[in-house]
């Protein structure tokens, strides 16, 4: 049973049998509201601080979870409610996290095992097309049609992040582009 802190007083016989519930003091609600406002400002400020990835996401989520906890425990009354309701909420969150975790295990470990060479070739092709697209400052609609069909594994801008410099990769990509241009046509002719 919820332990009533501020029990509502029945005013006479007509209220007999009414369940007693905890009434939160106004000051508590105001305090939480104030805290939520402050935390919102904090959210914006820390995003401007330029914390490196992935910690910026971690910090942002910590703040968001703090705000969420305040809303859940005070506005939604979980602190004074039956504990079963909190279990329900946490259970849902738990299964959501299971969904994220196991799916990301897949996405994060793709290509870990070097199975078929074709995958790397495709990746190089895709990078090449995107690179030429960016260089020629073409827009999305024009680029879309040039893409070879197949899986995407990484952001095309990935080229710049991972060593090899701009020039070196560029030269390789030009070759790749020329060699595979014919392949693309062949594929388009034969495939569906």
């Amino acid at each position: 049973m919820a332990t009533p802190k501020n029990v509502s007083h029945s005013a006479g016989g007509s209220h007999a049998g009414e369940p007693h519930e905890h009434i939160t003091p106004l000051s508590v609600y105001l305090g939480v509201f104030g805290a939520l406002m402050v935390l919102t400002v904090v959210t914006v400020v820390i995003s401007e601080l330029g914390i490196p990835e992935p910690w910026n996401l971690v910090v942002a989520m910590i703040v968001a979870i703090t705000k969420a906890s305040l809303v859940c425990s005070v506005f939604m009354h979980l602190v004074w409610d039956k504990r079963l309701n909190t279990v329900v909420l946490l259970g849902a969150v738990f299964f959501m996290l299971v969904f994220f975790t196991l799916t990301m295990v897949d996405l994060l470990s793709r290509g870990m095992v070097d199975e078929i060479n074709d995958q790397d070739v495709m990746l190089e092709e895709q990078k090449a097309v995107w690179q030429s697209c960016m260089d020629e400052k073409q827009d999305w609609a024009a680029c879309k049609d040039k893409l070879p069909k197949g899986y995407w594994f990484k952001d095309p801008n990935y080229v710049e992040d991972h060593g090899g410099g701009h020039g070196g990769d560029h030269a390789k990509d030009d070759h790749a582009k020329d060699d595979h241009a014919k392949d693309d046509h062949a594929k388009d002719a034969g495939g569906h």
Binding site: G91, L102, T103, D106, L107, M112, L147, Y151, W152
Partner: protein
């Protein structure tokens, strides 16, 4: 048959739930059935709906099997065949097996077993029925609009590109999901809050533990299906590219989304079946269930572990090898609580006073067939062997052994067990036994050859195949006709029993759970006064003390 109180026979001249309102004319009768909030009537309406769609999906299966009798595609074109098996799968999964025991039997039995007068949210219960009918209408519309051939699994990229009424089918399945969610929500609250005084969680009949575990899964898994189908619809009508590799998306991601629901869905299908078997095996062996606590907790464990294993449907889909290993490892865990149940049921029968009546015959069928189905699951959860068996008939045989023999056969057992309580009449016992036997034979003849052909490489969803498999397919098709004959026999004698069967005794099985304490069939409010639970659900008064094995 003894009762610890005689309230159940105190009728106050109150008519049963079946006829209440009939005397007031047709309008009142229709209103009483279609705007009812009585869980028993809602359960009956679900029963009729579900069995109707079972018939339709069964016909589709017979069409598929008839085409497959010969290796050459002589009956249907490839496209028609794809539509036929999609119809069979889609209707069976979404309209029949998922709601089967929870909605059709559970709605009826749950409040009675708890000692409650209704579920916690009767209007929500009615809403879930109407949502079911709406979803069914959408699916039927898709079928009539030319059918869809994506397979019930709606994999991208085909489902996002296929021409035809796929969007309607997706919307239908989306809607049906909410019916399932509402039912689950209702059952969870009812079980938590409305148990009769004296009935703690560990004095509930195991059927209720099973329905509870099922309801948890229905509530948590189904919304993910809903969002998945919604995203596929968005991709079809608006080109949102989350699953489209051309736009940077990933089609395997859709499979993650889909199976996150669909694996727990198979536990939605089977957990209630386990509950029925617990009831039947105990009552018809007239012995206290062996390992009550183990069975109760294993139900919840299966529900929870079931959320961790979905990737075993995706070993060859393109997901990473590491996640394949992880999912394979986790999948082995889910076999353990299931095995615990089988041991407990067999332990219950041991030393019991077994009656070989129709419900017991279905129970024995279940134990044998589900064991085979479950064990073959191990070959599929082992990634190394699954690579060869995936998308072959081995998988088809596996899931039919667990779903058709699991969910359907136990449902039939439950239907026969609770039939007198639901309708107040008795079916012909001889025909019942014959039906059970024909179904058992037909089932094995249909699906056992499929294990053999699958392990030899016969792919699934193919409508023409190499001649080497023809004799096995021929056997399987004959088996399907035998199975159909058995099911039709059951349908005929049950319909006869409904209208012309002899009046049933109040408690023909001598069971001691609370639903047998009420009138047969029950009055509208179930109980005149809230019953008090004073003993366990399987405490038969005259358990043979001398055996010394009955006390657990």
């Amino acid at each position: 048959m003894d009762h610890h109180d005689d309230h159940g026979h105190d009728h106050h001249d109150e008519p049963s739930y079946l006829v209440y309102g009939k005397e007031k004319g047709m309008a009142a009768f229709l209103k009483g059935w279609f705007v009812t909030v009585d869980h028993k009537r809602i359960g009956i309406l679900y029963l009729i709906s579900v069995l109707f769609f079972f018939l339709i999906a069964g016909m589709a299966a017979l069409i598929v099997r008839t085409e497959l009798m010969t290796a050459a595609p002589d009956m249907l074109t490839g496209d028609q065949y794809n539509i036929a098996f999609t119809l069979h799968g889609g209707i069976m999964v979404f309209l029949v097996i998922i709601p089967l025991t929870p909605a059709a039997l559970g709605n009826f039995v749950l409040p009675l077993m708890l000692g409650a007068k209704d579920v916690a949210f009767p209007k929500l219960n009615l809403a879930s029925l109407y949502v079911y009918w709406t979803g069914a209408a959408l699916l039927v519309y898709a079928v009539l609009g030319g059918g869809f051939d994506t397979g019930w699994t709606f994999y991208t990229p085909y489902s996002t590109q296929a021409v035809g009424p796929v969007t309607w089918a997706l919307l239908g399945a989306f809607t049906l999901g909410f019916s399932s969610i509402f039912t689950g929500l209702n059952f969870i609250v009812t079980i938590h809050k409305m148990r009769a005084p004296g009935m703690g969680f560990f004095r509930m009949p195991l059927m209720l533990w099973a329905l509870y575990a099922t309801a948890l899964t229905q509530l948590l898994a189904t919304p993910v299906l809903a969002i998945t189908l919604a995203l596929v619809v968005m991709e079809r009508i608006m080109g949102v590219g989350i699953f489209n590799p051309e736009l940077g998306g990933d089609p395997v991601l859709m499979q993650h989304f889909f199976w996150f629901y669909s694996h727990p869905a198979v536990y939605i299908m089977i957990l209630p079946a386990f509950g029925i078997i617990s009831e039947l095996v105990s009552v018809h062996s007239r012995k206290r269930i062996f390992g009550y606590g183990a069975i109760a907790l294993s139900s919840v464990s299966i529900a929870l572990i079931g959320f961790l294993v979905w990737g075993h449907h995706m070993f060859v889909s393109g997901q990473s090898e590491l996640s394949g290993v992880v999912f394979s490892f986790l999948t082995f865990f889910v076999a353990v609580p299931t095995a615990i149940k089988i041991f407990s049921w067999v332990g219950t029968m041991w030393g019991g006073s077994i009656r070989f009546n129709t419900p017991m015959l279905y129970t024995l069928s279940f134990l044998f067939l589900f064991l085979i189905g479950g064990l073959t699951g191990l070959f599929l959860s082992t990634m190394a062997s699954d690579v060869h068996l995936h998308d072959t008939y081995f998988v088809v045989a596996h899931f039919h052994y667990v779903m058709a023999s699991g969910a359907v056969i136990s449902f039939l057992g439950g239907l026969h067990h609770w039939w007198p309580k639901m309708f107040g009449t008795m079916y012909n016992e001889t025909l019942g036994k014959i039906g059970a036997l024909i179904i058992f034979i037909g089932f094995n003849l249909t699906f056992f050859p499929q294990f053999v052909m699958g392990s030899r490489g016969m792919p699934r969803r193919y409508h023409e195949y190499v001649p080497e498999f023809e004799s096995l397919h021929w056997m399987s098709t004959i088996g399907s006709y035998v199975l159909a004959a058995g099911l039709f026999l059951v349908m005929f004698y049950l319909l006869y029993a409904l209208f012309k069967g002899p009046k049933a005794a109040d408690n023909p099985w001598g069971a001691v759970t609370l639903e047998w304490e009420t009138a047969t069939p029950p009055i509208e409010h179930n109980f005149h006064h809230t019953p008090v639970c004073v003993r366990g659900p399987y405490d038969f008064p005259e358990i043979d003390e001398s055996l010394g094995k009955g006390h657990h």
